[in-house]
Subunit: 339 residues, 2 copies
């Protein structure tokens, strides 16, 4: 970090006056500059033609630094992925920071480096933003809102309405990794080889799949908060069919599985940040998985289940020992502030 | 408020599971529903052609209820106005809520009613959103991020680059009203006729002005945090000219002026939420003011100053008693969490 005029965030940095301008000049505008952001107007002017995807997320994860990432790169990847799940190419994001008085500027700098790296990797630009400061004890270090705009891929036809009985459900990667990386850190559970968050940008992989399989991809969703269980339940509610999943097919890292067991958690309910579930036409299932295995973040790709006529609105798990059980949405909160 | 399943926000309402879905179904989706929001996807799909304005703001105002408004309507108007200041017609907004555990749901409901009313008045829709919950003492009731998209008006040519020496500076309304409404409430300063926030949507008025005066309007800015002083200083920095303003012309409500004096504050530095400053070609100045006086929120319209060749980068006030002084940006924070 370069030498700055200040090493702690104060309320004055949220005043809209000289200190705010100094903070922005020495950190955000310095690190994230691009032609649009540099205009420093109240808003960014963009050129767009056709269909856009528009998605927002606030990130309140605690701690803000953890194995495999920090709240900054999480905030970029989270919104990039939400835009990608619409079938769109993420282009522009806004950055809303709520800082707590007393935050060391060195920590803000680290977070901004995470934002910068994630933007470069995903190919998006921060084009507009806002920074507020709240008093000590009225926030928690840093909260970040990112809102993204993407251009819909012309071949994308992503909608729960396109799902039909027989569709296969594919995931790209091991589940529950992000949530367990955070929980292991919170509970001081250590490994020689620590669990790292799977936070990543899925957009390049998604667009390659849409290029190749187009409207045969019926729905894409990234199961973050509430885990795969919440996502599949929401989809089952929205379609008039049931969903079955095979426990033995669902990929989970062994260390993740162990920590889940220690903490009494079911991986199906744990947050992911680098996982997507694709509902695809059965006719392309094998070639979709084969292709996905060759792509970034896709090496663990596997069919985990399908859409069935039975038990509409419900998700049923076929267990490793041959039983069946309904997978409900979790009622309350087992992992607060996981994203 | 209808009977809900719960009367207090808990961490479970941020879980992404059943409680989150119940909260959203019974509050946000119920009050703010529209065709796009109803799809409940991770993002909204929009149609757009041409130039767009894109702007974000997080609102952390305390208290969340005050004379003349609440944080909900402020959050909508603030972003609507930022989009309008770009010369665009605001269309879509995203809504990111960060709720503190323990928030009475009745308060959330009031805030959402403010959001609903402000959206209807401004003609925008909440098309996508996100709701998080943080533990008691890690937030403060409600923080709101809104991010807006607007369609650029074809006649708009709003840019600091268009400002030239001789341009007149017009404001539409009395300044410092929002900030002093909040400060009077915080300091329990009472009036028979209390000062109410001037928070309002300026978009309809702005668009009418752009329709009529087109590229003769060189720049539009709404002086929120940091007040008129910060905004004029930012503009003076961006152009290679100076700005002069006439103290006797700057409209301030008498009660607002009195509270400012009691608290030792200069109205030039106090936040506004219903004020804009327009930099316009001198040739249209009189007809611009005459027109603005006939429009919503424009009855106090007045020329307060102009762009001059002298003192480039500086704002100079000609005082009521005939003196001159440089108006700098405030260094620190006199009014934390005013928006």
């Amino acid at each position: 970090m370069p030498e700055l005029d200040f090493d702690i965030i104060t309320l004055g940095h949220g005043s809209g006056g000289l200190l705010t301008n100094r903070l922005l000049d020495q950190t955000i505008f310095k690190l994230l500059h691009n032609e649009t952001l540099d205009t420093r107007h109240d808003g960014a002017i963009l050129e767009a033609n056709g269909k856009l995807a528009f998605s927002t997320d606030s990130f309140v994860i605690s701690p803000i630094f953890y194995p495999g990432g920090n709240i900054g790169e999480l905030a970029v990847n989270g919104t990039v992925n939400d835009v990608a799940m619409c079938g769109a190419i993420p282009k522009h994001i806004s950055l809303g920071l709520i800082l707590e008085e007393g935050l060391p500027v060195a920590e803000l700098w680290e977070v901004l480096l995470g934002i910068k790296a994630a933007c470069e990797k995903a190919g998006v630009h921060v084009v507009t933003g806002d920074t507020k400061v709240v008093e000590r004890g009225k926030g928690d270090k840093v909260f970040i809102n990112t809102t993204g705009i993407g251009e819909m891929h012309p071949k994308a036809a992503i909608s729960a309405e396109n799902i039909k009985v027989g569709d296969k459900i594919v995931v790209n990667s091991q589940i529950a990794t992000h949530g367990m990386a955070i929980m292991a850190k919170r509970h001081d559970i250590t490994f020689d080889d620590p669990i790292e968050s799977d936070s990543c940008n899925l957009n390049h992989t998604i667009i390659t799949l849409i290029e190749e399989f187009g409207e045969q991809i019926h729905l894409l969703r990234d199961p973050t908060r509430g885990g795969l269980a919440a996502t599949l339940n929401e989809i089952a509610r929205d379609i008039d069919s049931g969903i079955t999943i095979q426990q033995t097919k669902i990929p989970v890292d062994t260390r993740v599985d162990n920590v889940c067991e220690m903490l009494g958690l079911d991986p199906l309910y744990v947050a992911n940040e680098g996982v997507f579930a694709a509902f695809i036409d059965a006719s392309i299932a094998d070639s979709f998985v084969a292709k996905l295995k060759t792509l970034e973040y896709g090496s663990e790709a596997v069919i985990i289940g399908e859409v069935v006529e039975a038990h509409p609105g419900k998700v049923v798990l076929h267990s490793a020992i041959g039983g069946k059980r309904v997978v409900n949405m979790a009622v309350g909160e087992q992992l607060p502030r996981i994203c």
